[in-house]
């Protein structure tokens, strides 16, 4: 069980900080608020937003990371989405993709359905679960100083990397990027591969 510390970080500012100097990062976002957070920074063709398939963000990131070993791949998702696919941490750890990082925007809530508590509210420690799966680099972030240390890990530390960022549970304005599936798929592939 994780030690209880005060949660102060604002998710939109966290995501803006993470993506500020993203370079050619490939980004996969989990359904719900992480998709809106990424869109609040910019709607980038190197973003692939999941609007469904709950529990699938990390494995979508793994498939992409294996296909594009020269590119850094970041999965940004929520604690509820991560918990639904938590076995995927074991699958990723065994594959050891050196270019894959996972960032959790952990508000300890199911935000889309009315802010019900997730297991992380009750002490379930996602970073410890990643560590137990075999991730060599894991961190739980509670404040701006820790975030400053963790962001270079997301970009540069040999993966797989797992960072759980504790964020406050306030509702944020919805900022909706495109959600037509074929459009998102085609533009991501065209931008990355030069063809669809």
């Amino acid at each position: 069980m994780a030690a209880r510390r005060k949660i102060t970080l604002d998710r939109r500012k966290v995501v803006a900080n993470i993506l500020k100097d993203r370079g050619d990062l490939l980004l996969v976002t989990g359904l719900g608020a992480p998709t809106w957070d990424a869109a609040s920074v910019e709607d980038n063709p190197n973003n692939f937003y999941l609007w469904g398939g709950m529990g699938g963000a990390v494995l979508t990131g793994l498939g992409l990371a294996l296909a594009q070993p020269q590119r850094r791949v970041l999965v940004l998702t929520g604690d509820g989405e991560m918990l639904m696919g938590v076995g995927g941490l074991a699958t990723v750890a065994v594959q050891k993709p050196s270019n894959l990082a996972i960032g959790i925007l952990d508000n300890q809530r199911y935000g889309e359905t009315g802010m019900q508590e997730t297991h992380t509210e009750h002490g379930v420690d996602l970073a410890a679960m990643a560590s137990g799966a075999g991730f060599q680099t894991t961190s739980t972030v509670y404040n701006a100083a820790e975030l400053k240390t963790a962001i270079p890990m997301l970009y540069n530390t040999p993966g797989p990397v797992f960072v759980d960022v504790k964020v406050t549970a306030e509702d944020q304005p919805m900022i909706l990027p495109p959600r037509d599936g074929p459009t998102l798929k085609h533009r991501f592939r065209e931008n990355l591969l030069g063809s669809i």
């Binding site: 979508t60 793994l62 498939g63 296909a67 076995g87 990355l192």
Partner: protein
Amino acid sequence: MVSKKSKTWHWSQDVHQLFKKIGIKQVAYVPDGGLAKLLERCQADKSMRSVVLTTEEEGVAQMAGAWLGGQRGVLLTQSGGVGNCINMLSMMQECRIPLLSLVSMRGEWGETFPWQVPMGQSTIPALEAAKVIVHHVDQAEKVPETVQAAAKLAFDANRAVAVVISQRISGSGSKG
């Protein structure tokens, strides 16, 4: 290639060669007896990455990521694993991302283990309800050509396709 009339011929030889020919680079699976020979061939082949999953739905999401990154993959699963995939299949349908899957049946031809029957009998209806195109095959000689046709439908026509391999071929679970 060993003649198909040869007693040593197994459909997995031709399917593995087909995977190489069409450029399969990621092979995702939860181990299964009916697929064991194919899994061994893929594991031993350095030109493709074998990924063992904790649950089959992971493989659906992985195939989406592979396609986004420009690679072709295949999901290999026992019929029981189909039940684990249903919600994740919505991603393939909604984004029209190709999915090639081989499903090894249990709970069907000559099954003797009762707990395999419910999901086995639900496998094809569940796939069809999830809008996955099903190619059912019950003769070993026809598996390679069926996989080849399914791969075209998946990767060239952007569809989710499952080759459902009858228990009549594997004989799994039918020895009493």
